[in-house]
C-alpha cells in the first residue's frame, strides 16, 4: 500500500514538473521521475510472495532501458539546442530537420 502511494506521488510530482517547468533540462528530469514512479510500482507488485510471476520485474528492466535510450536522445537534442542558446520550452515552436 505504501509503495502504491509512493509511486503515485512520484508520477504526480513528475507530471507537475513536466507541465510547469520551462527549463527543458528540468522537464527531462521530471520525465525520469515519472518513469521511476511507474517502475517502482511494477517492481513492488512483482516482488516474491506478492505475485507468482515475475513478469513485472522484466517490464521494469525494459522501462529502465527505454528510459536510458530516451534520456540519451533527449540530452543529445538538448545539447544541440544549448549550443544554439535555446533551452526553454517556449523557444521550441517548430521542429525542422
Amino acid at each position: 500500500m505504501n509503495t502504491l502511494v509512493l509511486s503515485c506521488a512520484l508520477v504526480a510530482a513528475g507530471l507537475y514538473g513536466v507541465l510547469t517547468r520551462r527549463d527543458l533540462v528540468a522537464v527531462l528530469a521530471s520525465i525520469e521521475v515519472m518513469l521511476g514512479g511507474a517502475s517502482l510500482l511494477l517492481v513492488a507488485y512483482a516482488a516474491p510472495g506478492v505475485a507468482t510471476a515475475a513478469a513485472g520485474q522484466g517490464y521494469a528492466l525494459l522501462v529502465l532501458a527505454v528510459g536510458a535510450a530516451e534520456a540519451a536522445v533527449g540530452i543529445a537534442l538538448l545539447v544541440s539546442l544549448i549550443r544554439r542558446g535555446r533551452t526553454r520550452s517556449e523557444d521550441i515552436t517548430e521542429v525542422r530537420g
Partner: protein
C-alpha cells in the same frame, strides 16, 4: 381516328415546332426565318378552311389522378374556326409585313420565333375544348406579348412597358383562374361542353361569381377600363406586333372567351350588366383620349381600347354574334391601320404626328390603305366597320338606351380622331425632318389584302351570323342614318380642329392635357395601387426577409464563427499546454472508467 380528325392539332403543333426550330438556330436562319415562320399561320389557315363545313372535336387523357381525369382537346366549331381564320390571316399578313419592317434588325430570328410561338399559343387558346388548355394558351399569349413588347429590351421604357403589361393582365388572369376553380368546384369538370351544358343548373350565386371572374380575366386581356392602362404603353413594341397582338388577336381574346362561354353569361345577368357598363365607359372614354394623342400608335392603341369597349357593350346586352362580327371587321381594319402606321413610321422615321404631314404624296399606296382602314373604323358605308358597328349600336340601343346613346357619341368621336390623325399624317405641309419614301412591296401587299377585308367584310355579316347559328340583325335605317351623320359630323370637326402643335386648341389646353394623360387613370392606379403595393413589398422585405430570414441565417453564421474562435484558443502551439490537456483527458477517462466499472 382518321388523319383529318387529328388535323386541328397541327394548327398548334406546327407553329410551336417552328418556334423551337427558329429559336434553336438564332444565328443560323438569317433572312429565311420569315418564310419558315410563315408556315405556322398558313397551317392554321388551312386547318380553319378545312374545318369550316363540319365541326370536329377530339380529346385525349392528359392526367389521371384517382377518380379525377383531366382531358385536353380541341373543338373546331363555328366560333373557334372563325377566330382561327382571323388569327391565321392577320398573323400571315404581319409576318410578311415584318420582312420589310424588321429588315436588318438585331434579333430578327428571335422576333420570328416569338411570332411563331404566339401563333401556336393563340391557336391553342382558340381551339381549346377545355378551360385548362384554353388557360395555357391564354397565359402563353400573355408571355409572348410580354416578350414582344420588350423586344427592344435594352430600351428602359420598353422593358418597363413589358413589365407593366404583364403585371396588369396578371390581375385579370388571377381572377380567371379563380373562376375556373369555382366552375370545377360546382361541376367537377373543366371540359367546356360539359361545363356549359351544366351552366343552366348552377346556383345563381355560383354562376354569377364564375361569370364575373371570367369577365375580369377578359377585361384584363382585352384592356377594358380599369385594366386598360397597359395597352397604350404596349406600343413600345415593334409596330407589326402591335397590329397582331395588341389590335387584332390577343386583345380580342377576351371578347372571344366570353362568347365561347356564353351559356354561363346567359344565367348571370349581373356579369352581363358589368360587361355593358365597363364596355360603354371604355368605348366613350378611350375615344376621347385618342382625340388628344400625338403619337400615331397611341391614337390607334386608344382606338383599339375603345373598339373593344364596343364589343364588350354588345356582349353585355347578349348580342355575342354581333360582338364577334365586330371583332372580325375590327381585326381587319385595325391590323390594316397598325400596319399602315408601321409603313408610315418606316418611311418617315417618326411616330409623332406633329413631325409628319403631307405623306400622301410621298407614300400614296400606304395613304390609300390607311384611308381604307380609317373609313372602316369611322363606320362610313359601305366599309366593313359601318355594318358591324351599326349592329353593335343597334343591339345596345335596343336593350339599354343610355349605353346606346353613349356609343353614338363614341362613334362620332371615333370618326373625329380618325379624321384628325389622317389629316395630320398624310395631308397639309410636310413637317418631317427627313424625306419620306414609300415602303417595299412586302409591306404593301399585306396592306392591300387587309384593305380588301376592311372594306369588304361588311357583307360577310349575314353568312357569319348564319355560321354562328343566329339571325343577322336587319339593318335599321334610322339608326344607321343617325350613326353615319354623326360620324360625318365628327369627322368634319376632327378634320377642322386638327393642328400639328402640341395642344389642339389653346382654349381647351387643360382639357386636352387631361385627355392626353388618359383622364388620370394611370396616375390614380399609381397612387392607390402601385405605391401601396410597393410599400407593402418593402415592408415584407424589411420585416420578413431581412429581419427574420437574413437574421436567422446570419445569426447561425455568427454563432459558428464565435464558437470557432473559442475553440481556436486551445490550439496555442505550446507543447506543455497540449500535454496538460492530454493529462487531464487521461485523468477524466480513468475516472470515468473507474466510476463505470465500480
Amino acid at each position: 381516328m382518321s388523319v383529318l380528325h387529328e388535323m386541328p392539332y397541327l394548327a398548334v403543333l406546327v407553329p410551336l415546332a417552328l418556334a423551337v426550330v427558329l429559336a434553336a438556330g438564332v444565328r443560323f436562319w438569317g433572312n429565311a426565318a420569315a418564310w419558315i415562320a410563315l408556315l405556322g399561320p398558313l397551317t392554321g389557315l388551312a386547318v380553319g378552311i378545312a374545318s369550316i363545313g363540319g365541326g370536329t372535336a377530339g380529346t385525349f387523357t392528359w392526367i389521371r389522378v384517382g377518380q379525377t381525369v383531366l382531358r385536353l382537346g380541341y373543338d373546331a366549331n363555328a366560333l373557334t374556326v372563325v377566330m382561327l381564320l382571323v388569327v391565321g390571316v392577320v398573323a400571315s399578313c404581319v409576318m410578311v409585313f415584318s420582312i420589310g419592317y424588321m429588315h436588318g434588325e438585331k434579333g430578327y430570328v428571335r422576333y420570328y420565333a416569338l411570332l411563331s410561338l404566339f401563333t401556336a399559343a393563340m391557336a391553342a387558346l382558340v381551339l381549346a375544348a377545355d378551360l385548362v388548355s384554353l388557360f395555357v394558351g391564354w397565359e402563353l399569349v400573355g408571355a409572348c406579348s410580354f416578350l414582344l413588347i420588350g423586344f427592344w429590351y435594352a430600351k428602359p421604357s420598353a422593358a418597363e412597358a413589358a413589365r407593366k403589361a404583364f403585371m396588369v393582365t396578371r390581375i385579370g388572369d388571377a381572377a380567371m383562374l379563380l373562376g375556373m376553380a369555382v366552375l370545377w368546384n360546382a361541376t367537377g369538370t373543366l371540359e367546356l361542353s360539359a361545363v356549359l351544358g351544366k351552366a343552366a343548373t348552377l346556383a345563381p350565386g355560383v354562376a354569377t361569381a364564375a361569370a364575373i371572374c371570367v369577365l375580369l380575366g377578359a377585361v384584363g386581356k382585352s384592356a377594358q377600363f380599369p385594366l386598360h392602362i397597359w395597352l397604350p404603353d404596349a406600343m413600345e413594341g415593334p409596330t407589326p406586333v402591335s397590329a397582331l397582338i395588341h389590335a387584332a388577336t390577343m386583345v380580342a381574346a377576351g371578347v372571344f372567351l366570353i362568347a365561347r362561354v356564353w351559356p354561363l353569361f346567359e344565367v348571370a345577368p349581373a356579369a352581363r350588366g358589368l360587361a355593358l357598363t365597363l364596355g360603354t365607359i371604355t368605348a366613350l372614354g378611350a375615344a376621347t383620349v385618342a382625340l388628344a394623342q400625338r403619337d400615331i400608335k397611341k391614337v390607334l392603341a386608344w382606338s383599339t381600347i375603345s373598339q373593344l369597349g364596343f364589343m364588350f357593350a354588345a356582349l353585355g346586352v347578349g348580342a355575342w354574334p354581333v360582338a364577334i362580327f365586330h371583332l372580325v371587321t375590327h381585326a381587319a381594319f385595325k391590323a390594316l391601320l397598325f400596319l399602315s402606321a408601321g409603313s408610315v413610321i418606316h418611311g418617315s422615321g417618326t411616330q409623332d404626328l406633329a413631325e409628319m404631314g403631307g405623306l400622301a404624296k410621298k407614300m400614296p399606296l400606304t395613304a390609300a390603305c390607311w384611308i381604307a382602314g380609317v373609313v372602316s373604323l369611322a363606320g362610313i358605308p359601305p366599309a366593313a366597320g359601318f355594318f358591324s358597328k351599326d349592329e353593335v349600336v343597334a343591339s345596345v340601343l335596343h336593350a339599354a338606351p343610355w349605353a346606346g346613346v353613349a356609343l353614338f357619341a363614341a362613334s362620332a368621336l371615333t370618326a373625329a380622331y380618325a379624321a384628325r390623325a389622317t389629316r395630320l399624317a398624310f395631308f397639309g405641309e410636310p413637317r418631317g425632318a427627313k424625306p419620306a419614301h414609300e415602303s417595299p412591296w412586302t409591306m404593301i401587299a399585306p396592306l392591300a389584302l387587309l384593305a380588301v377585308g376592311a372594306l369588304g367584310l361588311g357583307f360577310a355579316g349575314a353568312p357569319l351570323a348564319a355560321l354562328l347559328g343566329h339571325e343577322a340583325e336587319p339593318l335599321s335605317v334610322p339608326i344607321a342614318a343617325t350613326a353615319v351623320s354623326l360620324a360625318l359630323v365628327g369627322a368634319f370637326l376632327g378634320w377642322r380642329s386638327a393642328r400639328p402643335e402640341a395642344s389642339a386648341d389653346p382654349r381647351f389646353a387643360a382639357l386636352t392635357r387631361a385627355a392626353y394623360s388618359g383622364w388620370g387613370v394611370d396616375a390614380f392606379a399609381d397612387r392607390f395601387v402601385v405605391r401601396p403595393a410597393t410599400a407593402l413589398a418593402r415592408m415584407a422585405d424589411a420585416m420578413g426577409d431581412r429581419l427574420a430570414i437574413d437574421g436567422l441565417a446570419e445569426g447561425v453564421a455568427t454563432m459558428a464563427s464565435r464558437v470557432g474562435g473559442l475553440l481556436a484558443e486551445i490550439q496555442s502551439g505550446d507543447g506543455q499546454w497540449y500535454a496538460a490537456l492530454m493529462a487531464t483527458g487521461v485523468v477524466v477517462l480513468a475516472a470515468a472508467a473507474v466510476w463505470l466499472v465500480r
